[in-house]
Symmetry: none
Subunit: 215 residues, 4 copies
Amino acid sequence: MLARVPTSFKRLPRAVREQQMLDAAVKVFSRRGYHAASMDEIADDAGISKPMVYAYLGAKEELFTACLHREGTRLMEAIAAAVEPDLPADEQLWRGLRAFFRFVGAHRDGWAVLYRQARGEPPLAGAVVTMRGRMIDVVTGLLERALAARGREVRASELEIMAYALVGASESVADWLADHPEADADRAATRMMNVAWLGAGQLLDGELWRPADAG
Amino acid sequence: MLARVPTSFKRLPRAVREQQMLDAAVKVFSRRGYHAASMDEIADDAGISKPMVYAYLGAKEELFTACLHREGTRLMEAIAAAVEPDLPADEQLWRGLRAFFRFVGAHRDGWAVLYRQARGEPPLAGAVVTMRGRMIDVVTGLLERALAARGREVRASELEIMAYALVGASESVADWLADHPEADADRAATRMMNVAWLGAGQLLDGELWRPADAG
Amino acid sequence: MLARVPTSFKRLPRAVREQQMLDAAVKVFSRRGYHAASMDEIADDAGISKPMVYAYLGAKEELFTACLHREGTRLMEAIAAAVEPDLPADEQLWRGLRAFFRFVGAHRDGWAVLYRQARGEPPLAGAVVTMRGRMIDVVTGLLERALAARGREVRASELEIMAYALVGASESVADWLADHPEADADRAATRMMNVAWLGAGQLLDGELWRPADAG
Amino acid sequence: MLARVPTSFKRLPRAVREQQMLDAAVKVFSRRGYHAASMDEIADDAGISKPMVYAYLGAKEELFTACLHREGTRLMEAIAAAVEPDLPADEQLWRGLRAFFRFVGAHRDGWAVLYRQARGEPPLAGAVVTMRGRMIDVVTGLLERALAARGREVRASELEIMAYALVGASESVADWLADHPEADADRAATRMMNVAWLGAGQLLDGELWRPADAG
DNA sequence: AATGAATGAGTTTTCATTCAT
DNA sequence: AATGAATGAAAACTCATTCAT
């Protein structure tokens, strides 16, 4: 948590103000949902007047999009930092999943919640398409590299479905994680990795995938 | 022989009206989203006045819940009808997935859309928990039977996460299907089955699962 | 309380049905207030369908008026039965007041509550004027007889104001009684009699009026 | 010298708007009654939009309460200004009553009407209790001082009933005054004073109380 | 640069009342 | 005689958004 900047600091540079607003918006959107969140509450929470919010970040929809964008980027950066392109595919997938669940587990008010809300709201469809596209791209890239390393090639649409399945499964397990606050992010990542890598067939036969490292 | 259908469409019995209303509500909720859907439009679309909607199905939230319940039950019935408990696990999973995607593909305004919306809306959380529980139960049951057939046993929470992953993956691929109207439901089901059954590991190595039948 | 007539008794004579409805209406109006009382609840409580209420007792306003009329008449009859025109004025006033407070105390859901509600509602003004007129007439008659017995005469408008004051004071003390369920009706009547008969001047000097009898 | 009154009546400071709204609300509530009064009409009458009413004075119930409070306070102040604690009790009572009737007569849309409405409305019960308490306190205080001057003492509950009677009688005569627009407030006050001070017993015997002064 | 004042437009919900059977 | 079905009309309340200062 960032220390709250005292309200007495007036005339802050624009960039700082914008971050304050986004912090407040993420908080309120997460807590109340897109519709139930009121611009009033967001402005109040940011310690700023409503017209300023409009002046800096635009209307409600844009504001939400900006939140989603910022949180999504942070998530993507966390994943990117964890994955090293030269490792084998399973290690890459594992590190990516682990980073994903760690991030989601650590920011329970952030991207996962916003994304979940956005998915059901037609007016936010655009933002969702954009963000999901970025996630799909990450996964697709990983798969493509893995295939290339094996000297194989697969139609793009096949890869895309697979990426959808992986992303959807991860989101769902992230939901499970969000609903079980006592659960451990790394354990969830391990389970997810098992399903994703081995598939139900091998799992049912008792096969198991285990992380190589401890951390 | 049949009872005479009245020439004017007025004064229908309650049960009929309720179905008309639910039809309209599912349509409008799907098209507009929960919040943007107005009770006015739903009533109009059902060809009935608003007070009747309130009298028969209650306030907006209850109405949505009723929609979700009806559509979810239909989906579940479609899946249940397709799965035969005595078949091997992969065949069961396949038939279940195929039934799921066929249903979702055939009712693009139905369960999948409502469910997606409900997930982001705090006020609808209760309904989501109930419905998701039913889906998870179906998948968990399937996995349990498969394990039993192999003489193995696994902790309930492990199974649950696996079920979450499968359900989430399916939902996500269903989204993909919803976004690609030209796509074929059975092909999507096959892709999904591959990911779910074989896992990324074997898929990347070129293994492939194929349906046994043609239907 | 009348024993509830079982709903299975259908086709009751009109007069009986009307009393059932009035019973229900008095109850619901008293409990909820004129506006918050819904015709639905009244019909339900009477164990009858709404159209019947309309057919027998008319619209909501008429229904309320009918309630007020019935309860008011009962009150007036109770007072009339208690007052004997040949007694001295103070004895008459005392008996009238005592009957009034006893009645109000015994029917805490009846006349007093309805009347209080009606007073503030412009649409019910007519009914209030009528009922209050009847009360004022009773008091005015009492005062006139008392004056006649003393061989005096006073302008009608003077008497009228006096009657207003007495009626208003009684209503107010009745309110006090309604708000103090543990209070005793006869004690309240005695206090009221003291104020009304002796006036503040004598009361402050310690004079006291006491009922002659014990009953 | 005076601050320039803006040519357009827009953008007034909050305090001013609040008074305008209260003025309009008192008017509309008095004319139509609590329920029949619509927030729309009140806003229109105040020359402002509905949301401002909600923003400044809250929901309908709070708005009504605020009206009652303002008008009640004005009435109480008028009475307090008229009564001088060092005068004899009858003089105090007389001045109080006169101030009361003058005020009520001069503000036929104010306190008396609102109070009458509030009494019958269950949702406004709280406000009524508060306001009536203040009136009762004023009268009780007067009576206590009078008793103390005579060296006597009386139980609080006795005084309370007496106060109820006096307040109720005054309200009723105020009603009479409201229904007789040609009537004179001071004459009504004199009549009321006679009943209250002398009581029916002495009045019937021809005794009469008269104000000492002419004003 | 910053905000208090202001509103248009829309929504859910309720209720008295009446047909058609 | 009795009722389930049906509705017109209105009311309270909220919110995103913008002026004017």
